[in-house]
């Protein structure tokens, strides 16, 4: 809480309006919100099935996969960014193929930002959802099976509604982590205003030159994210 207070006290309130309307601030904010949201969607699409596999099935190496899921948590994000470059970069294992086959390149693109953020934020979603799945009574799924529902129908109509609060909490965590992502993003996606320069990158570079500008940017990121998280909490978690 104290560092927060420090930001508020030190903020250049007189010049705030003109700093807020400085070019680039809005673009960075919009890019941040967009990429964090897309990254959350990616995490949901990949992470929920992964969590289901981890919680509801047994397969060889499951413990290893679970450990692997948490790797982005312990890995310094910059290292994560380098790892992503080694895979999806121009010379990367998958990157070369993507480029040759589809003409797709991820580094230095907005899509690259989404990939970097999703990589770092994924564990938050998977761990939340897996926990929710383990907490949910699997016998409801058995009941659905006896009623003739296949795995997919059971998952969609029974499991997912039962774990909805856990999925929502995981998605919120995931979104918040993606919004604040810096290291993997700047390493993998680089820094280009309007395309890959998210708010945390803008803050870092502003810090090189103008502390006041950095503080203003930080405040903007803070206020927006707190407002959105508070709004989501009331709607999702409050109702559950």
């Amino acid at each position: 809480m104290l560092p927060l207070l420090g930001l508020l006290i030190r903020a250049p309130w007189q010049t705030l309006p003109q700093r807020l309307t400085a070019p680039g601030v809005l673009a960075a904010l919009r890019l941040s919100l967009l990429t964090a949201t897309l990254a959350t969607v990616v995490c949901l699409l990949l992470g929920v099935p992964l969590a289901w596999l981890l919680a509801r099935t047994t397969f060889p190496g499951r413990g290893f996969v679970r450990a692997l899921v948490t790797v982005p948590l312990v890995l310094p994000p910059v290292v994560g960014g380098v790892a992503l470059l080694l895979v999806f970069g121009r010379r990367g294992l998958a990157g070369e193929w993507l480029d040759a086959t589809f003409g797709l390149t991820l580094p230095f693109t907005t899509a690259g930002v989404v990939v970097a953020e999703a990589f770092v934020a994924m564990p938050f979603l998977v761990i939340s959802v897996e926990g929710a799945l383990r907490g949910a009574d699997a016998r409801y799924e058995e009941a659905a099976a006896t009623l003739g529902a296949g795995r997919w129908t059971t998952f969609r109509r029974v499991t997912l509604p039962l774990i909805a609060p856990g999925v929502a909490a995981g998605a919120v965590l995931c979104w918040a982590r993606a919004l604040g992502e810096f290291g993997a993003t700047i390493t993998f996606a680089g820094n280009f205003p309007g395309r890959t320069q998210t708010m945390p990158l803008a803050v870092y570079l502003a810090l090189e030159q103008d502390l006041d500008a950095a503080i203003v940017l930080s405040l903007v990121l803070l206020v927006v994210s707190v407002a959105i998280l508070a709004g989501l909490r009331d709607r999702w978690l409050g109702a559950a």
């Binding site: 380098v82 470059l85 080694l86 970069g89 121009r90 010379r91 580094p107 230095f108 700047i186 390493t187 996606a189 680089g190 820094n191 280009f192 205003p193 890959t196 320069q197 990158l201 870092y204 570079l205 502003a206 810090l207 090189e208 030159q209 502390l211």
Partner: protein, 253 residues
């Protein structure tokens, strides 16, 4: 003999940690000298520090390398350091303006940009103009950091408009993108290109002359070890230290 030297070192170190105003014992230079230096000085200052320690037995030099701007902020925020070596006069000015320097900064080295390309220069890039081609991916430093400002100046002088794929937060990050093969070229300092060893070739270009970067050094006002600070600032301008810097690719001031 060694035991006595060790005891002396400890005594000096303790003295060095004192309230900062007192010179270390025995009237000479001693204790620990803490140097905050720009990241581009990492390799050369490491060697300069070793030489300094050889000439001043009992003295220990510790370095903290980082982006010049970040280091300057640490100093104005009260970091306990003796010497500051920056990669640009503008950054140095923020420290001087804040009243944290002891005396005037002196320029001890200059650095120039080179056009860094992968070893063997596969795309045959020989001038700044070549960077304007859309199929060439270029990494520059962000305009907020010294190497970015220098690159902007050089490109203006050449009358070339380049759209980089990324504006990196420091020169080493731009170099890393080049080493990883993500970009075809980067405008970085000659010293950094040389530090990259065999992976990277540095192509000289005439416009770099209009964007020469001066490296100033200064002893700090609140230095815990002012005599050590003064000795180190003097030492970086000796021929011995200058030779190390020249080997690393720096030019003499």
């Amino acid at each position: 003999m060694r035991v006595r030297a060790f005891v002396l070192a400890v005594v000096l170190a303790v003295a060095g940690c004192g309230d900062g105003g007192d010179p270390p014992a025995a009237g000479g230079v001693g204790g620990t000298v803490t140097v905050l230096a720009a990241a581009s000085l990492t390799e050369s200052f490491g060697r300069v520090g070793t030489l300094f320690e050889q000439q001043h037995p009992g003295v220990k030099v510790t370095f903290s390398f980082g982006g010049s701007s970040g280091l300057a902020q640490q100093i104005t925020a009260g970091a306990p350091a003796d010497v500051f070596a920056a990669a640009s006069p503008a950054t140095m000015k923020t420290v001087v303006d804040a009243g944290d320097s002891a005396g005037e900064p002196v320029t001890f080295a200059r650095n120039q940009l080179v056009l860094a390309v992968p070893k063997g220069n596969p795309k045959g890039l020989t001038s700044l103009a070549a960077l304007a081609k859309p199929e060439v991916k270029v990494a520059l430093c962000a305009a907020q950091v010294p190497c970015g400002a220098a690159a902007a100046k050089a490109l203006t002088a050449a009358g070339v408009k380049v759209t980089p794929v990324t504006q990196e937060q420091d020169v080493r990050a731009a170099l890393a993108k080049l080493k990883l093969g993500e970009v075809d070229a980067a405008l970085i300092y000659r010293t950094d290109a040389r530090a990259a060893g065999g992976d990277v070739d540095g192509v000289e270009f005439p416009e770099s002359a209009s964007a020469v970067n001066d490296y100033p050094v200064v002893a700090l006002k609140k230095a815990p070890n002012p005599s050590g600070a003064g000795a180190f600032v003097t030492f970086v301008r000796t021929p011995q230290a200058q030779q190390v810097l020249a080997d690393a690719g720096f030019q003499r001031p």
